[in-house]
């Protein structure tokens, strides 16, 4: 239930050569059509809204069907929901510290890495959000994530591997993507979705169990046989459906962060090139596991990266993301 979203800067490695920042010199090239990015963002928000609406309606329908097929017994559900709520609140307020702790992230030293600090601050200015706290993770696998319940309490982390392997434009693309997640409240969004999924799972579980015990009691006030069958089938399928919706939403938000990030830098090629490099890298990220995988900019669980797996992945396939960026 952790939330975060998944960029590199100049350590002592990059030459502090040019006066004009690399960004401004690259803007002389033909830039992206900003109108296309705006359209992409608008379309994405519509899709997200539709998915969430569908999800809520699905949940309501579920509750209704379950209610129809079975008399009462809301107490169990209420308690389960209470537990879910507590877990959600804890994650909401402390999730970011937990995730940073697990990754052993250390704060960026402005003197050691002024470029990274400046990039984060500059892009936060472009996005109109407060500057997130910047962290570095000692891991040679290139990756990055952002976390935090709102822009005022947010953090961005990059691995040392990312800092080494990407050039300045690519790093800016990655950081822009992460800051876009913060600006779009994707972390909070993911929490909301996780709560919905959890609720569906709990309700379905309760339904399945009540069906199991049904035969041993006198039937009282239960609905007709057909409703019961439908309810049971749903009780089995609903959690899976809920997960698929959650993953679909997660992928949409990744595309949105890509587009929003491109709008910040006005240079989608930076992120496209970074994604190419990161996705080709086959080194496993040490700190990541299934629970935190969705946070990172590219899925750190290598077996989930290919196109075939994409329905079950929190991230869209890198090739598709790169294609969309280059079409902007």
């Amino acid at each position: 239930m952790f939330s975060g979203t998944g960029h590199k800067g100049a350590g002592s490695g990059l030459p502090i050569g040019s006066i004009s920042s690399s960004r401004s010199s690259e803007n002389e090239k033909k830039g992206p059509r900003a109108s296309m990015i705006y359209e992409e963002i608008a379309a994405n928000k519509r899709r997200s809204f539709l998915l969430i609406s569908f999800f809520v309606m699905f949940l309501l329908a579920l509750g209704w069907i379950f209610g129809m097929s079975y008399g009462a017994g809301e107490a169990g559900v209420a308690m389960a929901l209470a537990v879910a709520l507590v877990i959600s609140l804890v994650t909401f307020f402390w999730g970011d510290k937990m995730v940073l702790g697990i990754s052993r992230a250390r704060p960026v030293d402005r003197k050691q890495n002024p470029y990274l600090a400046n990039v984060v601050e500059g892009l936060a200015i472009a996005a109109g959000v407060p500057t997130p706290k910047a962290f570095v993770i000692d891991d040679s696998a290139p990756n990055a994530f952002a976390t935090g319940r709102n822009p005022e309490n947010s953090s961005v982390a990059v691995t040392t591997g990312l800092l080494k392997k990407l050039n300045r434009l690519e790093l800016e693309g990655v950081i822009a993507h992460e800051i876009s997640h913060i600006k779009n409240f994707d972390i909070r969004y993911a929490m909301l979705v996780a709560v919905l999924v959890g609720t569906v799972a709990l309700v379905s579980d309760w339904m399945r169990r009540s069906f199991f015990y049904r035969g041993r009691r006198k039937k009282g006030g239960a609905g007709s046989g057909l409703i019961v069958v439908v309810a049971l089938v749903l009780a089995i399928l609903a959690p899976v459906i809920a997960q698929l919706i959650r993953l679909a939403l997660s992928r949409q938000r990744e595309y949105l962060a890509d587009a929003s990030g491109a709008l910040l830098t006005r240079y989608p090629e930076g992120l496209a090139s970074a994604l190419e490099k990161i996705s080709k890298d086959t080194e496993p990220l040490e700190a990541a596991n299934k629970a935190t995988a969705h946070l990172y900019i590219v899925n750190p669980l290598l077996e989930h990266r290919g196109k075939l797996n994409s329905l079950f992945s929190t991230h869209p396939p890198a090739e598709e993301r790169i294609k969309r960026l280059r079409a902007m």
Binding site: I16, I19, L123
Partner: protein
């Protein structure tokens, strides 16, 4: 009486809904206006930061390039002009002047390898580069906000509200594209 309530409810809706819409649209316009003001000041903040770097920079360069007095004086002069600038126009002019002076300074620094290797100089250079980027980002954000603000004032129905309450369209921040042939100090 049931009938009376229905009538009352109906009146409430007919009057209430437009008022609600009016409030929402007006508030949105106010927020956008404030955001654009704030964004404008953000640019100012970054420009000021750049000006504040100058004394330190001049001192560092002086240590290695005493003979380049004219260049150093240019930069210092540009900075003091900037700090005295009051109106928007004065500030814009002073900004351009400082930008030009700094470019010349770094071009000249090319000839002093010891200076280029100086830690403090490198840090300042990086800081300056960072601030230049932030100035650009601040301008970009300002323009983005102005776009939203102007849109809100022109689309229907908020254009009506904008007219009633005297909202004015804001100007974009257009940089005069000062020649970007910055002498690239490349270490390749």
């Amino acid at each position: 009486m049931g009938g009376a309530f229905v009538v009352l409810f109906f009146i409430l809706v007919v009057l209430g809904v437009p008022v609600l819409i009016l409030i929402l649209l007006y508030n949105k316009l106010v927020r956008l206006r404030n955001r654009s003001e704030n964004a404008w000041h953000q640019i100012d903040v970054q420009l000021q930061k750049r000006a504040d770097l100058v004394p330190n920079l001049v001192e560092t360069v002086k240590g290695y390039a005493q003979h380049e007095k004219s260049v150093l004086e240019e930069v210092t002069k540009a900075r003091s002009i900037y700090s005295q600038a009051g109106t928007m126009k004065e500030k814009a002019d002073a900004t351009n002047m400082l930008t030009g002076a700094l470019k010349t300074l770094f071009a000249v620094a090319e000839n002093y390898p010891e200076l280029k290797a100086n830690q403090n100089f490198l840090l300042l250079q990086e800081e300056l580069s960072g601030i230049e980027s932030k100035i650009a980002y601040a301008r970009q954000f300002y323009n983005d906000v102005v776009l939203s603000f102007n849109n809100a004032q022109q689309v229907f129905p908020s254009n009506i509200i904008a007219g009633w309450f005297g909202f004015k369209l804001r100007e974009y921040f257009e940089i005069e594209e000062t020649k970007r042939d910055v002498p690239k100090v490349d270490f390749k």
